[in-house]
Symmetry: C2
Subunit: 168 residues, 2 copies
């Protein structure tokens, strides 16, 4: 397979992958494109290569920047903005973890904490089941939260080098 075909495949599949994880197709595709591009691209380049509209590209590039996944670059002597993606997979992963944790896990844990203290007869099996379920999910979530925190703070080689132990 040649580069251009492989690029197409990667971009298209990465887009589909994104949608299964609540990230819109275009955002994932733009990210994919910039990850595999050796040089920075302009908005026009992205529009042309992915065949999507100006507004769409603009909106998704801004979103990617807010996630910390892209940077604006001004090339010396040029008027227009260029964009590059963070290329280091480990950094990309930790940026994504950080962001989703903040947006989703943290608020959910806060909610669960509230729901755990409901009024009502603790002997009622419905109350009991509710509290047990919520606290079970919360315990799991807290543990995951901690683990992700450590991951994000850790060094790349810890994970990628296979130097980590999962059992005590």
């Amino acid at each position: 397979m040649h580069l251009s075909e492989a690029k197409k495949q990667f971009i298209s599949n990465w887009g589909a992958f994104g949608t299964q994880w609540g990230i819109n197709r275009t955002m994932a595709q733009i990210h994919a494109l910039l990850m595999i591009s050796a040089d920075p691209l302009t908005q026009e380049d992205v529009m042309a290569q992915l065949d999507i509209s100006r507004g769409n590209v603009n909106m998704n590039i801004r979103e990617l920047i807010s996630w910390g996944l892209l940077d604006r670059v001004i090339l010396p002597g040029e008027r227009k903005e260029y964009f590059t993606a963070e290329k280091d997979t480990w950094k990309v992963a930790t940026l994504i973890i950080r962001e989703r944790k903040k947006r989703e896990l943290d608020p959910m844990l806060k909610l669960l904490a509230q729901l755990e203290n409901i009024d009502g007869d603790k002997k009622d099996k419905n109350v009991k089941q509710f509290v047990e379920t919520i606290s079970g999910i919360r315990k799991f979530g807290k543990q995951a939260d901690q683990m992700l925190d450590r991951m994000v703070k850790a060094d790349e080689s810890w994970f990628l080098g296979g130097l980590f132990k999962v059992f005590k």
Copy 2:
């Protein structure tokens, strides 16, 4: 806060949470409802409590069963089917991991393996960047895959009891 209000909040938020992870709102809500219900429910119960149509409930219950998250139960002497959810958070988590790994991660790793061997001048910076990006993502994915495999095989207490070490 009282049970009925807390239930509503949990179901509604769990549904929203689901959509951010590529699981449809109704499926997540049905799962939430059954997780906090002490006794098995019928399709009718679910329809009534969540105010959704017969077809929708039926389709999503079947999907949840295929994930291994719900079981059909026939109560002795009853004609109709009841449904219960797996209540153990750890088991729920591993079932979900297993399923998503199979449906998403495994195929993606297969694709990346193919894309890594493209034809073309290895000195071309575009080819180089492509191969580097793909192999970086693949390395990370393989590591994640291994970690998840160990998690799924491990005992609940490993994770939930906080007995695990993340550093060597």
